[in-house]
């Protein structure tokens, strides 16, 4: 890629930052070029981020309808899934699926709850509830 062809598309996913891309100058030598982003990359990042946000939103509504517990919402809100949460807490996946059920969630032992708090980085009060406002999609 030529230096002048390095995209400068102001990706909003960069939050105002720049990334280093390697490209060749007119003399054919490689240089490190700072790029504000590439539209193609922004699209795929947002695809992934939106998927995670949609999962969090769906869980949020399930909790409000009483079909699920705040644990499921917080899991997705922290960009984890059952597998990721299982690896991070050491619980088996079936245990987490059980803990997500509202009735079981209410009976969680202090020790089990602490493992979730630690991995999710939440206080007890935050963990037991969901935000009043629905998360942005």
């Amino acid at each position: 890629m030529k230096k002048d062809d390095v995209p400068q598309d102001n990706n909003r996913t960069y939050g105002g930052h720049k990334k280093v891309i390697y490209a060749v100058n007119d003399a054919g030598e490689y240089e490190k070029i700072r790029s504000t982003g590439w539209e193609a990359e922004e699209f795929v990042t947002l695809l992934a981020v939106n998927e995670l946000n949609e999962q969090a939103l769906a869980a949020y509504h399930r909790v409000n309808r009483g079909e699920s517990s705040p644990l499921e919402y917080h899991m997705y809100a922290k960009r984890l899934d059952i597998l990721g949460l299982s690896q991070a807490t050491g619980f088996f996946q079936w245990q987490i699926k059980r803990h997500i059920k509202p009735a079981v969630f209410l009976r969680l032992s202090g020790k089990a709850r602490h493992r979730y708090l630690d991995v999710l980085g939440l206080t007890v009060a935050e963990f037991q509830s969901i935000p009043e406002q629905a998360p942005a999609k």
């Binding site: 939050g15 280093v20 891309i21 193609a40 695809l47 597998l83 990721g84 991995v119």
Partner: protein, 328 residues
């Protein structure tokens, strides 16, 4: 000890090692670190899933660059892991007090200075701590333009994040100024190792792995009837290639830059030619990414044959480079 100089680089692991070596008086570029550690690779493991998507990698697994460079250059690097966060933070402060700069493995998700859209649970992000001020650490994060500041409690959380590739507080530092590099010896042996890992006798990895992924794309609609799933899968390939600190085209441009530097250092015309060819290979990868995203955006039926063909072209062109490099 000289005053610390921050460096903005494409990739975290290569960036940390380059900055660390420069700090200790050995001028080695990021691209040269990448090449000498034989960091380039390709792997497609459909059976290993991260957030429900398969593992696709354009470089060696985390820590392989640091360890590969250590071996190639005979660096005196210490690695330490910890059983408790407290011990890990004390050991970090001890090294800083002794005037050393320290490399850390961390989780991106818990680093507060990262923009929200870049915060994923990736546990093998590397950075350098170069000083402590009160309760804050001064950090040289290679993928940021300037140095950043991180509160101690957040850094501790990031160092001791749990899950896949858990860092367990891993820190590393140089114990002494490294010896000068014998490029005429180090460069050919590093390239030979990369030739072996890109053209191995087994499928899935290397050039055959690229063909493997291309064949998967050809059958995508059958294997994955849900269009949303298809888009997520295709987007995932492009993300791995472009988003995750690769310097563009899944590390192919950085490698071309390494080959160019190596050609000058060893006065070797073959490497010059290989560098030009690898640049063209990188352009093919970018072309593949562009077409993939276009198809995802239009929400039109995917032209699977076209995507598969583009990827087969990447593989075929890259194979020529490795065949040329075999002669070094």
């Amino acid at each position: 000890m000289t005053e610390f100089q921050h460096q903005h680089t494409a990739h975290c692991e290569t960036g940390v090692m380059s900055t660390m070596l420069k700090h200790h008086g050995l001028d080695v570029s990021e691209a040269m670190v990448f090449g000498l550690s034989s960091g380039i690779a390709f792997a497609y493991f459909p059976f290993i899933k991260l957030n429900g998507l398969p593992l696709i990698a354009y470089r060696m697994p985390p820590r392989a660059i640091i360890k590969g460079l250590k071996k190639r250059l005979g660096l005196n690097v210490s690695f330490e892991k910890f059983t408790s966060p407290q011990k890990g933070m004390v050991a970090l402060d001890k090294q800083l007090n002794a005037g050393n700069i320290v490399g850390l493995q961390t989780s991106v998700f818990w680093l507060p200075y990262f923009p929200d859209d870049m915060r994923f649970h990736f546990n093998a992000h590397n950075l350098i701590v170069y000083a402590k001020k009160g309760d804050n650490y001064l950090i040289s994060d290679p993928v940021f333009e300037e140095t950043v500041i991180c509160p101690a409690k957040d850094l501790q959380k990031a160092r001791f994040a749990k899950g896949a590739l858990a860092p367990k507080g891993m820190m590393y530092y140089l114990n002494e100024k490294p010896e000068n590099i014998h490029y005429n010896k180090a460069i050919p042996s590093a390239i030979k190792a990369s030739v072996r890992s890109l053209t191995p006798p087994v499928p899935i990895v290397g050039i055959k792995g690229i063909h493997f992924l291309a064949n998967k794309l050809k059958r995508l609609a059958k294997a994955m009837p849900d269009e949303k799933q298809q888009r997520l899968f295709l987007g995932h390939i492009v993300r791995m290639q472009e988003e995750i600190g690769t310097g563009g085209a899944g590390f192919r441009y950085i490698y071309a830059s390494f080959l160019q530097e190596a050609a000058t250092l060893t006065n070797n015309k073959l490497l010059e030619k290989a560098s030009d060819m690898m640049t063209d290979v990188g352009d093919e990868w970018r072309n593949f990414a562009l077409h993939t995203v276009k198809m995802c955006k239009n929400r039109s039926p995917f032209d699977e044959q076209k995507l598969a063909d583009l990827l087969h072209t990447c593989a075929a062109e890259e194979l020529k480079v490795w065949q040329l490099l075999k002669k070094i």
